[in-house]
Symmetry: C3
Subunit: 346 residues, 3 copies
């Protein structure tokens, strides 16, 4: 059922070099544990290169040619990325036939491109604009004046509030809510007055937003997600946050209001970043870290509150020894007292 | 397109005093960064008062009259709250025309007031009661016997389980689930037996519940959210929790079963509160705090586990110095040994 | 309205022993606080046994017979589990009449058993198989090739991605997303290439998945949830995770990719477990714990990073005393200097 490619065709597709039989036929892609003779595998590191003889597969993507007889290789400087491309060649994302489902509810002035799919029980507001090849899966709600670029797909059950702007090739997973009001209330006589939110959410090209994310609209200005930002599940992004290109946010992390995060950062799982901060480019924030201050380009931080990651490794190592350290201090104190007593007695 | 008010009209609306030209025409509201000459701005503190000459706007809400020529002011003792009210005057929440959408699914004995909107693909159970001016946005599911008070709005994709009671002027954002079963299982021979949940969720007047919250129904009694409680996104509230009036829960915080939180508390982002605790009134729980014991009225706590916030500031300051402290203790020990050796040698 | 049972009938149902009047009529079940003379109550511990005379109820489930006149007992070795069963006898989960709602959208080759309920605005893909007595509540989306076993119920607004396999007697609460893509991207020239996810999610018999969970499909292999696993709300389970039978995950906990958790574990609230770890059987991970290494069978851990729970209790006790400890060390240093000076002066 699945297509067959020669090793040469695959190498051409990923711009790699064949070492071995260019005509070797490949019908699938698999990890070492489940590969068959027809599959191509990824051996991105020494660890995997050494296991090649144990694997039934006879074709591998490798960073350099190892010394094995009768095995075929595609050599690629970034074998992991090359492998990801070959996975998507054999297993592309679902292709839907163009259709506006009869049970979708479409508002006025709906504008959409070629090959658009809108599933059953979608509810689409007024003045919504969808580009070419956009898929809106079932039970999704899209508010008025939302714009979505080409080749984007919104999975079932997503809610996009009015005025949100979404780029091209964006993927949004189920349960995610984009454009809800930020958490802004003015205190008034022991109670709270809502600050209506006039800003929007802008999600740029090539982003993938995980399941059950919440991304708030800006109070006046916008919440802006840069190009090729990837978020895992249950990520929270507050009002007026800006996230730079290629930054990734791992599961259950959260960013408070008005914080700017640079590009190519990694915000690890369950990390929390306070509001109104500036996080530089190429910053790494470790898992469960609580960031309370600005962070400069390239820094790696961990801990609650955050500190340089290398320091955190030392600190976290000491934490479990605190009871011993405390005992030692008390013992030292006693020995000191004993010396002082003797001194005084002299 | 937007309405124009005189400064005098705005002052009347918020019960403030004009200083300057009462007839000055205002057509909008904006922050300093994007204000034009037609906008009114908020200058709530010295910092902003000093920037007034740099702002194109000629009308400001201020706590006291600063010394500027040719600028118009509304003086108000709580300028932030006054500003929030003026924002909502220029930009009120969306007004829907009364309609039960033809593609909404309504159960038996549906009772509803004036100006009610129920969107497409809503599914409403039996014996549901909606007050006047209630908006149920599309794709929302409301279980049997749910009651919702006047002027409340439930945004798209919310799920409200049966028997839930929601007050007036309540806002519930998308993706939130209210009234699901609490996490209760009796251990039995290495496995678990479900404890069916007979209680309900009661949400009182003027609450705003953020996106993707989960609020569990009580086991026997009820989970009760007080008046004017505001929750941010991804907040979890377990079975039989009670939350006092005006308390706010910031994003990704969670409260375990049967805990009672008093009124006017602030539970900061990612904080977790254990079950069966009593948190007093006017308590502040810092971000990422893990609360394991009762907290008295007015206390401010931080840390895992919680401690007085001022102590936590000291502790968190020492954490990064632990490696140095440990070295110092080892050095002291050596010096002590050297003294002891000499003593013994004497 | 509710059914009446004799104490003897109830004892038979839970396999307990009557002590008192077997014919005593019971029409309900309640906690001590709200019980009436017609209710049966649970007195599982000394604390509750002592309160029996203060309770209007005249029938109790107890671990052993206390010494009270005129009160009726069912004695059971596991009174809590027995009570849970009696709760479900008086208050069973909702029973729906068999129906495929006219406003449900059903794909091709739909196969389903007896007494199946599919609510309004459900969207069900192609080749979906539902067992007997399956309830799919409204606004739920089920992808192609999903299989769901007998007696399972999927509450409103759930999204189940294609190919997911769900066992019998499984409950899935609202807002949960099962089978979305895992968080896998290959770095490529400063940007990211998506790794398409070919694996599935398998949820075994008797699981209950809380509200707003996210469970990712495997990259190649599967994400597997064992039998009788119970998850609270807002739990995140990443791609290729395996969770053993009877393990419970409390609210807002998260498990990163490829980690294997054994059976009968308790992962407490807001705990995070890193990827590619092996957590043994009968492990307890405390609230807000950050697990970074493998954990052996039966271990109890807490802290960030994790340590033995008993050690953590000591450590957490010392944390608040760190400022005092630090002062003491500085004082000791001074005293030591003073001794050293004197020594040198001698």
């Amino acid at each position: 059922m699945s297509k067959i490619y020669t090793l040469g065709e695959l190498a051409g597709f990923i711009n790699g070099k064949v070492h071995g039989n260019s005509d070797f036929a490949i019908s699938g892609v698999a990890p070492f544990e489940s590969a068959t003779v027809k599959d191509i595998c990824l051996a991105k590191s020494k660890e995997y290169l050494n296991k090649i003889p144990l694997c039934p597969s006879k074709a591998f993507i490798v960073p350099e040619v190892p010394d094995f007889e009768g095995i075929n290789f595609i050599v690629h400087p970034n074998p992991y990325a090359a492998f990801a491309r070959i996975v998507s060649l054999f297993h592309p994302l679902e292709k839907k036939e163009a259709m506006i489902h009869a049970n979708a509810n479409i508002g006025s002035s709906f504008s959409y491109g070629k090959n658009v799919y809108v599933g059953a029980c979608c509810v689409i507001g007024d003045n919504v604009v969808l580009g070419d090849d956009v898929y809106i899966y079932p039970n999704t709600t899209i508010g008025d004046n939302v714009v979505i670029g080409n080749n984007s797909r919104i999975y079932p059950g997503v809610v996009i509030y009015p005025e949100t702007e979404i780029g091209s090739r964006v993927i949004i997973h189920s349960g995610t809510v984009i454009g809800c009001d930020g958490f802004g209330f003015a205190p008034d006589a022991g109670s709270w007055i809502k600050i209506n939110h006039l800003g929007r959410v802008i999600i740029n090209d090539d982003c993938e937003i995980g399941a059950s994310n919440t991304i708030d609209r800006g109070t006046f200005g916008n919440t802006v997600i840069g190009k090729c930002v990837k978020t895992d599940n249950q990520v929270h992004i507050a009002h007026n946050v800006e996230i730079g290109d290629n930054t990734i946010l791992v599961a259950q992390s959260g960013v408070a209001g008005s914080t700017k995060i640079g590009r190519n950062c990694i915000i690890a799982g369950k990390a929390g970043i306070s509001g109104h901060l500036k996080i530089g480019d190429f910053v790494i924030v470790g898992p469960m870290t609580g960031v309370t201050g600005n962070i400069k380009d390239g820094n790696v931080v961990s801990g609650i509150p955050e500190m340089p990651h290398k320091l955190w490794l030392k600190v976290s190592n000491i934490l479990g020894r605190l009871p011993d350290l405390r005992k030692k201090v008390f013992l030292i104190e006693k020995r000191l007292e004993s010396i002082e007593k003797k001194k005084n007695a002299e």
